[in-house]
């Protein structure tokens, strides 16, 4: 009787030995058979320098996420569809990375060819293996001990070009870091943090320059948008968001109030390569709630600026909230979309604004096309045909307090909205809240907050509603909404798998059907989702990543 062989038959074991040898060889770089590196489990991800062409064609490599909002149109849309409506219910955690700082994360990772760059509070960045969550290197920025900060002690993300990363720091610097090792390449001082300037937003690479904004609207700064040469870190141009004496628009600030007018630029803008225009949102005029000391429209606060990226010249502007007295910064993500309006293809800018109105603008000229509330608002009857608000009397802050919707934090805020070219819908995390606004006298002192009042939330927060709202660019109508409790300050991602992802204040992260808002999946991550999701692919597997609390989680399908 012949003994049956146990285990692996001889022919198969020879084949296995060959595969193992092949894998080992390709890991050592000796074999470059096509496909072998990608398919072999032993091959490592490799970082290829990010050229300008790659940034311009970011949509063509959906497995990567090359900038804060995914692409220059800032649509925060992933072209991956491996995760979709059929299988989203099966999502499971793949790996988690616990940020070294316990501050609540606001960051969006950037992924280049399997390497993930994650920023964390206060101004540090870690390079991770996007497949496993293990670290390549970590950069820690030296910060002064006594920073003046109004708000989050945080960083939202890097920009990348070539083999360099660019990051804002809380002490108002811009740094360039080697993407492979974390070595510092250059460090440019953008402004003096002692006067209340700071930086938190992800910069934007345009051509040979890094475009970046500034924070400090509560400290009576004079806001600006800057561009720095990627090679040297020298400043290429600065566009002040408040015109100086003699410049058009300066007359919209009474007396000398322009000097401390705020109008910061603390979020990340967008770029249209065909029109060669950079778009950037500006924030509140200062002092926030006392408009009496700065009569006039206060240009260019609460506006979108269309900027020539070579010279920094202003091509056009549109102001959402003239003479704002509610702190309704327009420091939000300008979404660009090429879709139809009035039956014609049009280059649009779509903007669910903090003031609770959803705007559609022509991004070539800044022409106002449409504006409709997408969240509860009690301050304007509507917008006139130029898009200027028709204010309801009695809605300004008062000594005894005036309750108005939206609240200080707005109908929405800095957290990213999303646009899906497949559904042709804008998705935004909206909030129907209110604030009782007060006015107070304040004197400007350099480096101290200069806000002229404040607010209180008049009812228990449980009475207000957050919701993901899907808005049609053609009509401004809310097509569907998905309410969440307690509320949300999370960004939104949409994908080619026809999914929409977002999160809640109590730590839930969920997936919805992008066309209908039907709930497909949710998980409790245990701490507030205060960042926006993104998606990438490594080794043929799609991941969705989200920071919740101070942990970065990734999710994918079961193997």
């Amino acid at each position: 009787m012949t003994t049956r062989p146990t285990g692996i038959p001889p022919t198969r074991s020879v084949a296995l030995a060959m595969i193992v040898a092949l894998a080992g060889a390709s890991a050592a770089g000796m074999i470059t058979a096509p496909g072998a590196a990608a398919q072999s489990a032993a091959a490592s991800p490799s970082f290829r320098p990010v050229t300008n062409d790659r940034l311009l064609a970011a949509d063509a490599e959906p497995r990567n996420w090359l900038m804060y909002s995914g692409n220059y149109y800032s649509q925060r849309y992933s072209g991956l569809d491996q995760i979709n409506g059929v299988n989203a219910g099966q999502l499971e955690m793949k790996w988690a990375y616990q940020l070294r700082a316990l501050d609540r994360a606001e960051t969006t990772p950037v992924v280049v060819d399997g390497v993930m760059y994650v920023t964390e509070s206060p101004s540090n960045v870690t390079a991770l293996d996007a497949r496993t969550g293990s670290q390549y290197w970590r950069y820690v920025h030296d910060l002064p001990e006594d920073l003046n900060l109004c708000c989050g002690r945080n960083n939202r993300g890097v920009a990348v070009l070539g083999d360099r990363l660019f990051m804002s720091t809380l002490d108002a610097h811009l740094v360039a870091i080697d993407a492979k090792t974390g070595n510092l390449i250059w460090d440019a001082e953008v402004a003096d943090e002692k006067e209340g300037y700071s930086k938190t937003g992800a910069p934007l690479v345009v051509g040979d320059k890094v475009v970046t904004g500034i924070a400090g609207g509560e400290y009576g700064i004079r806001g600006f948008v800057d561009a720095y040469y990627v090679d040297s870190g020298k400043r290429a141009w600065r566009l002040y968001t408040i015109p100086g004496p003699g410049e058009p628009g300066n007359e919209t600030w009474a007396d000398d109030s322009w000097r401390t007018g705020g109008s910061p630029t603390w979020m990340t803008g967008s770029y249209d390569p065909e029109l060669d225009l950079v778009y950037w949102g500006t924030g509140n005029p200062g002092p926030d709630w006392n408009g009496d000391v700065r009569m006039g429209d206060n240009l260019y606060s609460d506006a979108v600026l269309a900027i020539d990226p070579d010279t920094g010249e202003l091509r056009w502007y549109f102001q959402f909230t003239p003479h704002d007295v509610h702190d309704w910064d327009a420091t939000q993500i300008p979404i660009l979309a090429d879709t139809e309006f009035d039956g014609q293809p049009r280059k649009l800018m779509l903007w669910p604004n903090r003031n609770a109105f959803f705007y559609v603008l022509d991004r070539e000229t800044g022409e106002f096309l449409l504006g409709k509330p997408y969240a509860k608002q009690t301050w304007a009857e509507g917008l006139d045909d130029k898009g200027r608000p028709i204010r309801i009397p009695g809605t300004f802050p008062s000594v005894e307090g005036t309750t108005v919707s939206p609240p200080i934090s707005g109908g929405s805020n800095w957290w990213s909205p999303s646009y899906s070219p497949r559904t042709d819908l804008v998705y935004v995390m909206a909030y129907d809240g209110e604030t009782t606004y007060y006015i107070r006298d304040d004197e400007y002192v350099a480096g101290e907050q200069y806000t002229g009042g404040g607010g209180e939330t008049p009812q228990p927060v449980d009475r207000y509603v957050s919701a993901v709202r899907a808005i049609s660019p053609q009509t401004g109508d809310v097509v569907w909404e998905y309410p969440v409790q307690p509320r949300s300050t999370a960004g939104v991602l949409s994908t080619a798998g026809d999914l929409v992802f977002s999160g809640t204040v109590d730590g839930h992260f969920f997936a919805l059907d992008a066309a209908t808002g039907a709930e497909l999946w949710n998980v409790n991550l245990g701490a507030r989702v205060h960042a926006a999701p993104m998606s990438y692919m490594v080794d043929g597997r799609q991941y969705v990543a989200i920071a919740a609390g101070n942990v970065l989680f990734t999710f994918g399908l079961r193997d």
């Binding site: 316990l102 670290q135 030296d142 910060l143 934090s409």
Partner: protein, 275 residues
């Protein structure tokens, strides 16, 4: 200048560098003494202005809680109980939270003045009360039947606020109002809910916590329930107080005595209980 930390070194020294990883450690200042040396009415008013400038963005202009910071207008604080403790929190912040200290930009006097203003909120300075606390205690256990819903030092019911230290949080005037007009101030943690489970029971009780997908209830029999919202056919929130008004049930002098009894409940102030 940057600190470049190679991976291998990091794993060995990560314990030592844990603080450095989040930026340079901020040295603490401590109050020079236990008592607030700046406690005049003038100081209270200065404190209010300072609070508006430095603190109101997070805690609201009247300290009642804002978009990012909790309500600190009640007179009881989670991270401090004494004036010196408050001084330390305002100066140094609270580690690993968004609460940052202001000691670098403000003098000791300013910090004390903010303390003075915070103390003037909530129950305010202690006052003498008319009314007999002992008689009030008899009303509490007798006619008032208060321990049906309220606990004092572990004895009593679960469906109303724990009263062990209520005298620290509410002034006599506020206590009177709580007794005769309980609907005037019902905080969300005392809202009730009536939930109907599909092909199942109706669960009614305290809304302990509610999220998008589930709700947790303490029912009338003191059972803890977790209900998935997708399993509910109806869910009704009841924001009115479940406490009856005692305006008619008790005489004026009984209310006076009961207020005195409650105002005397100052317990141990280290806040170990639930809120």
């Amino acid at each position: 200048m940057s600190k470049h930390q190679p991976f291998a070194v990091l794993t060995v020294l990560s314990g030592l560098f844990a603080a450095a990883g989040t930026g340079p450690a901020v040295p603490s200042v401590l109050a020079q003494g236990p008592d607030n040396p700046y406690a005049t009415q003038q100081d209270v008013e200065s404190g209010q202005r300072l609070f508006a400038r430095h603190c109101s963005r997070c805690h609201g202009l009247n300290a009642g809680g804002g978009e990012r910071g909790p309500d600190i207008s009640t007179g009881e604080f989670q991270h401090a109980s004494s004036d010196a403790g408050l001084f330390n929190v305002i100066s140094n912040g609270i580690a690993d939270t968004e609460m940052r200290g202001i000691y670098r930009t403000r003098s000791d006097q300013s910090v004390w003045q903010i303390v003075a203003w915070l103390r003037s909120l909530g129950a305010g300075a202690r006052v003498a009360v008319a009314g007999d606390p002992a008689a009030g205690g008899a009303v509490y256990s007798g006619k008032g039947d208060c321990s049906r819903c309220h606990m004092i030092a572990g004895a009593g019911g679960r469906h109303g606020p724990d009263l062990t230290t209520i005298g620290n949080r509410r002034s006599p005037e506020q206590l009177r109002s709580d007794l005769v007009d309980p609907d005037a101030r019902v905080q969300p943690q005392w809202w009730r809910v009536r939930a109907t489970v599909r092909d199942g029971p109706v669960v009614e009780g305290l809304r302990m916590n509610e999220g998008t997908y589930s709700i947790r209830i303490l029912d009338g029999a003191d059972n803890l329930w977790s209900l998935a919202k997708r399993d509910l056919v109806a869910s009704e929130r009841i924001e009115a107080s479940s406490m009856p008004s005692y305006a008619d049930a008790l005489t004026d002098s009984e209310i006076l005595d009961l207020v005195a009894f409650l105002y005397n409940l100052t317990g141990s102030a280290n806040g170990g209980g639930a809120r």
